[in-house]
């Protein structure tokens, strides 16, 4: 069988006649007939694919620097954030990219549900899609374990423990998954290997997904197939430019998170290193798992909860056969359309319940939500197909477009685009500060912090005063082990000043050539030494309490600087009369549970500031919070400056892409 390609260029012809890659690309992405009337919801498949490539590239670069061991993982991620060139950018792109990937895929799935894209002849496209979603969920779950924070560890423990629900085989399966008796180093290592592998499996299955689609052709909002040349446009350049425009807008949304709200979708507890001895008060999975988490907890029986959770995905596989309607698109199904939108609200509601503690009203709402979810697929859809009175469906796409033009004069694309841009802008501006403020359930006093504005410039003078507070007061008990002296350049110290500060410290080094450890003065490359040689010594010196390391404390607490400031100044000399103060504890208004082992350390006039700033306890608290904000994220200022430039670029680029798209499509409007 001889394949004669239709290209002019001799080299391309030579390759293509031996490996028809160019013919394939031309057929699938150049001349492929796309229905003319698809709306922007159809862009999300392409957006998801581009996000997959982004995740693979950023993930690969991160994997070059990451250390997949229980002892080294957390620190290697912090090294990426602090020392690797643009490491913070790669990390935030990857972490937020995961969320963006799920947003795009969920919209893509709901598009499929609304327009009946799962119906014959696209059943296999749909089922491969469900497999893709499962692969994504596995990949995301394992990826979240890798930073080895508290949520990483405990999320892994809870989810792997799910399998113990199965009788007989449950416990051996869990032990096999763990490679031990609990989540530990073997688990982390294998999760890293699998997390690296699965995206490439996803890539291969995505190619199966698009191949299965292209063989039968794409769906459209009308639900009727392409019947003639007037129904379609060639994929390139009409759909490529339109998808690029959509992706550019999506990038604005994505970049708002990367540069201005990088930790909004995450959980502060993951900035605390994993501790197998202490479970965080509320374990929550990442937001994209919340609806499934709600379904799991809605059923009071352990095994049935797990079964229900898996069933909620399995039911999607059966969808092409559950929906008996002869009409494909909800545009022409007035009853199903209403039930569909209730389903959307239901999924959001389930997600909300998943984030709440499993008590009271949240349990009731979870059960109602679960009932509706299964009821929609297992009861409503099969029945509606038989009994719903549908609207008349146009014969062809061309006819559908003609009917639409007779009804309204303008398209909704421009207002929708503007709305999304405004939304992104509002997100950036409005939430540029800490998004969550919580301190033991008590309202936190808010201060205005210069670093929280959109151009986020840290107050260097305040940070320097904060360093003084740390050195004079906090460093007696609290380590700052992630911060090297050279990092102080970020708050305005010169190289000589840094050398002088470092030299004031004694660092243990060695062994020397006789095998003994020795002391030497600190150097800029050294990190702040810990006041104690190890955790046990720290506990012994503090009545059994472990003073936490302060490098990341601002990011590890939901209220960030407001919380730390409030805590340091929130002591009450006398507790309320119904509270008994145990030995060695103090009453603090803002500490969760109110009983803290650290005494009040900041007093008015307790330190003398070199720059003559007022030295009230509140000012000291604010200054040390400013310094600790810097230690938590030294590149914060640059992140925001770069973010402004990137988002401005994207606005301009989106404008150009929109103009190009309108220019290209002018005869099709």
């Amino acid at each position: 069988m001889v394949h004669t390609p239709s290209f002019a260029h001799p080299i391309i012809k030579w390759i293509d006649s031996r490996l028809p890659i160019f013919t394939m690309l031309h057929h699938e992405y150049n001349e492929y007939p796309m229905p003319r009337n698809v709306n922007y919801l159809w862009a999300f498949g392409a957006i998801a694919a581009l996000l997959l490539l982004t995740m693979i590239v950023t993930g690969l670069m991160l994997a070059m620097q990451y250390n997949p061991s229980a002892t080294g993982a957390f620190d290697s991620v912090e090294r990426i954030m602090r020392d690797v060139n643009y490491g913070w950018l790669l990390r935030y792109m990857h972490a937020n990219g995961g969320s963006m990937f799920f947003i795009a895929v969920y919209i893509h799935i709901f598009r499929g549900l609304y327009y009946g894209s799962y119906q014959k002849p696209r059943e296999l496209v749909w089922m491969i899609g469900v497999v893709l979603m499962l692969l994504m969920m596995a990949t995301a779950f394992m990826g979240y374990v890798l930073p080895w924070g508290q949520m990483s560890f405990w999320g892994a423990t809870v989810i792997t423990n799910l399998f113990s629900a199965f009788p007989f085989v449950g416990d051996p399966i869990v032990t096999w998954l763990w490679g031990g008796f609990s989540v530990d180093n073997p688990t982390l290592n294998r999760f890293f290997a699998l997390h690296f592998l699965l995206p490439f499996v996803i890539l291969a299955v995505v190619m199966m997904h698009t191949t299965a689609l292209h063989i039968v052709g794409s769906n459209c909002p009308t639900g009727v197939p392409v019947k003639g040349p007037e129904d379609s446009v060639p994929f390139n350049p009409y759909v490529t430019v339109k998808d690029l425009f959509a992706f550019s807008l999506f990038l604005i949304f994505y970049c708002s998170f990367i540069f201005f709200l990088p930790n909004f979708l995450g959980h502060p507890d993951n900035y605390t290193p994993a501790n197998p001895m202490v479970t965080p008060p509320h374990i929550v999975p990442e937001w994209y798992f919340l609806p499934f988490y709600a379904i799991l907890r809605a059923i009071p029986d352990k095994l049935m909860g797990v079964v229900a959770m898996f069933a909620s995905i399995a039911v999607l596989l059966a969808l092409p056969w559950l929906d008996t309607s002869k009409v494909r698109s909800n545009v022409y199904r007035p009853i199903n359309r209403i039930l569909f939108w209730i389903l959307v609200v239901d999924c959001i509601l389930l997600g909300w319940c998943g984030a709440k503690p499993p008590e009271g009203i949240w349990v009731i709402l979870s059960r109602v939500g679960t009932l509706y979810y299964f009821g929609y697929f297992l009861v409503a859809l099969p029945l509606l197909g038989r009994f719903e009175k549908t609207l008349p469906v146009p014969e062809t796409i061309a006819e559908a477009i003609r009917l639409k033009h007779e009804r309204k004069a303008h398209s909704k694309a421009a207002p929708a685009a503007v709305a999304s841009l405004l939304f992104a802008a509002a997100l950036m501006v409005g939430l540029a500060g800490p998004a969550r403020a919580s301190g033991g359930g008590v309202e936190l006093p808010h201060h205005s912090w210069p670093q929280n504005s959109i151009f986020g410039r840290i107050d260097q003078a305040a940070a320097k005063r904060g360093l003084q507070i740390y050195r004079e007061i906090c460093s007696g008990c609290h380590s700052l082990r992630l911060v090297p002296f050279r990092a102080l350049a970020g708050i305005g110290f010169s190289e000589d000043e840094i050398k002088a500060i470092a030299a004031e410290y004694t660092i243990k080094d060695g062994p020397d050539k006789d095998g003994a450890m020795f002391d030497r003065p600190g150097r800029p490359a050294d990190r702040f030494p810990s006041p104690f040689p190890n955790d046990n010594a720290a506990r012994a010196a503090n009545n059994g309490a472990l003073p936490p390391d302060l490098s990341l404390i601002i990011k590890a607490r939901g209220g960030q600087e407001d919380y730390v400031t409030a805590l340091l100044t929130g002591y009450e000399d006398e507790p309320p009369h119904d509270v008994v103060l145990p030995e060695g504890a103090f009453y603090n208004h803002f500490f969760p549970g109110h009983l803290i082992r650290m005494p009040k350390m900041l007093q008015d006039g307790g330190v003398t500031y070199a720059d003559g700033a007022e030295n009230t306890a509140l000012q000291q608290a604010k200054d040390v919070s400013t310094f600790l904000w810097f230690t938590a994220e030294p590149h914060h200022d640059y992140r925001k400056q770069l973010g402004v430039r990137v988002i401005l670029f994207l606005f301009v680029f989106s404008g150009l892409l929109y103009a190009s798209k309108r220019m290209l499509w002018r005869n099709y409007h």
């Binding site: 670069m61 070059m64 620097q65 602090r82 020392d83 379609s232 680029f653 150009l656």
Partner: protein, 188 residues
């Protein structure tokens, strides 16, 4: 499968010249901006592989010279590589200075390779294919020229660390160093 067509007519009539150049300019501007954006994204990806700040910060080592006696040599680790620090004897210095530059594959006078004649500081990595030459220990073979001998492919270095015989193309590399005091040198 249906054959698809491009839109006919309207695009090419009317003010053809103005319309076409405006269209082309728009596509060109969009394409150029897209290319610039891709390049701007590619740079951080590539640069992340360059040495990180902590690697760059550990790029110098201080060596205490006091315990090294005349004729003795020590090896220290600098940037992950061995560095030979040898306190040369008078005979070794004289031999190094007496060599005719025309005999050298990589001509360099001894004075250009040392800051103080009695202290020879070299990166102990053979310039051929990277093995660590022998000659630091008192019982090590030192090759035919009294310096170092690389056992991998037989390169001989003299008392100034210059290549004299064997396949290595260049003299042993002299790192950047500075005497902080008479007995303390910072390498790198």
């Amino acid at each position: 499968m249906s054959v698809t067509t491009h839109p006919s007519g309207a695009a090419n009539t009317g003010s053809a010249g103005g319309e076409a150049t405006r269209r082309d300019f728009l596509y060109l501007a969009t394409g150029a901006m897209g290319a610039a954006g891709l390049a701007a994204f590619a740079w951080p990806v590539i640069h992340s592989m360059n040495p990180a700040a902590d690697t760059l910060a550990l790029s110098s080592t201080e060596v205490d010279l006091a315990p090294i006696k005349e004729g003795q040599a020590i090896t220290v680790s600098w940037r992950g590589k061995p560095v030979f620090v040898r306190r040369r004897t008078g005979a070794e210095i004289a031999a190094a200075q007496a060599v005719d530059l025309k005999e050298l594959r990589d001509p360099q006078p001894d004075a250009a390779r040392v800051q103080r004649a009695d202290w020879l500081i070299l990166v102990g990595v053979c310039t051929h294919l990277g093995c660590v030459p022998m000659g630091q220990g008192t019982t090590d073979p030192r090759g035919d020229f009294g310096g170092w001998f690389c056992p991998c492919h037989g390169s001989h270095y003299d008392t100034s660390g210059r290549i004299r015989k064997g396949p290595a193309p260049a003299n042993l590399h002299v790192p950047e160093y500075k005497f902080l005091t008479d007995t303390l040198v910072r390498i790198g």
